[in-house]
């Protein structure tokens, strides 16, 4: 088990989950999928600097080897942007639901989600 394998496989799993969820029919699931997807993307971008243990890119006397700081800066920027985009997507899908009464995104509109029975997503899966 190398770190590289762990990260790569984790990215793969996140991407798979992200794709699957973003292909669901309701905005919430889609947003969820995007969240997973962007986790994966951030990790991927981070990985472009390769993996370094215990070499944080903060200058220290006598230390010459540092983790590649550039991808970290890029990922930081990417995280911020992703956050902004996700926030907008969430609010927009909420707003669209409030306006149209449907949070479907699969084209076949079924308005009237209001008449739904309560459901506390608490217990284990039925």
């Amino acid at each position: 088990m190398t770190l590289e394998f762990l990260l790569a496989s984790a990215i793969g799993v996140l991407v798979a989950g992200g794709i699957y969820l973003s292909l669901r029919a309701r905005t919430f699931q889609v947003v969820l999928g995007l969240t997973l997807f962007s986790y994966a993307v951030n990790l991927f971008l981070f990985a472009s600097g390769r993996l370094t243990i215990n070499r944080p890119p903060i200058l220290q006397k006598g230390v010459t080897e540092y983790a590649d700081p550039l991808p970290q800066a890029l990922v930081l920027t990417a995280i911020v942007i992703t956050f902004g985009m996700t926030a907008l997507a969430v609010v927009l899908s909420l707003r669209s639901f409030l306006e149209t009464g449907s949070d479907q995104v699969d084209g076949n509109e079924c308005a009237g989600d209001e008449d739904e029975g309560p459901d506390l997503n608490a217990g284990p899966r039925a």
């Binding site: 506390l120 608490a122 217990g123 284990p124 039925a126």
Partner: protein, 143 residues
């Protein structure tokens, strides 16, 4: 000198070991105890002696081995001491709430060995169950 070093080593190692052990015990308790309220006691160990030990170990280590002050690690404990009770309190409230709104989740009995909480007094109930009285000290930020 070496004696002192080895002494430091022992102290540091001891703290780390104690901390880690208690963290594990806390989590283990969370696994094995019967219901939510009992499991809730697990984390407090992880928080207090678990992390505490680790932090003291860290402070000692940086001071004795690296020769740097690392008292700022105490802040971690400070914040955790403020926040951990809140988490526990809120989770407990959730438990109380669920005891009322859905007495049994899929057949298993959440009430647990402690039974139902007692009624505090005839003229009032628990805040989770009935709105706080305006005059009560608990009525902070009600407006």
């Amino acid at each position: 000198m070496t004696a002192l070093h080895s002494l430091a080593d022992i102290a540091i190692s001891a703290m780390i070991v104690i901390g880690a052990t208690f963290a594990l015990i806390g989590s283990w308790g969370m696994v094995r105890l019967p219901t939510l309220m009992e499991r809730l006691h697990g984390p407090t160990k992880a928080t207090t002696l678990g992390l505490g030990g680790m932090l003291v170990g860290s402070i000692l280590y940086f001071h004795l081995v690296e020769g740097k002050w690392a008292l700022h690690e105490l802040l971690i404990s400070l914040f955790l001491f403020i926040t951990a009770p809140i988490s526990a309190n809120m989770i407990a409230k959730v438990h109380l709430h669920q005891l009322r709104v859905k007495p049994d989740v899929d057949g298993l009995d959440p009430v647990g060995p402690a039974g139902m909480p007692p009624i505090p007094s005839e003229d009032s109930g628990w805040a989770t169950y009935e709105a706080t009285v305006q005059t009560s000290p608990a009525a902070v930020a009600e407006m």
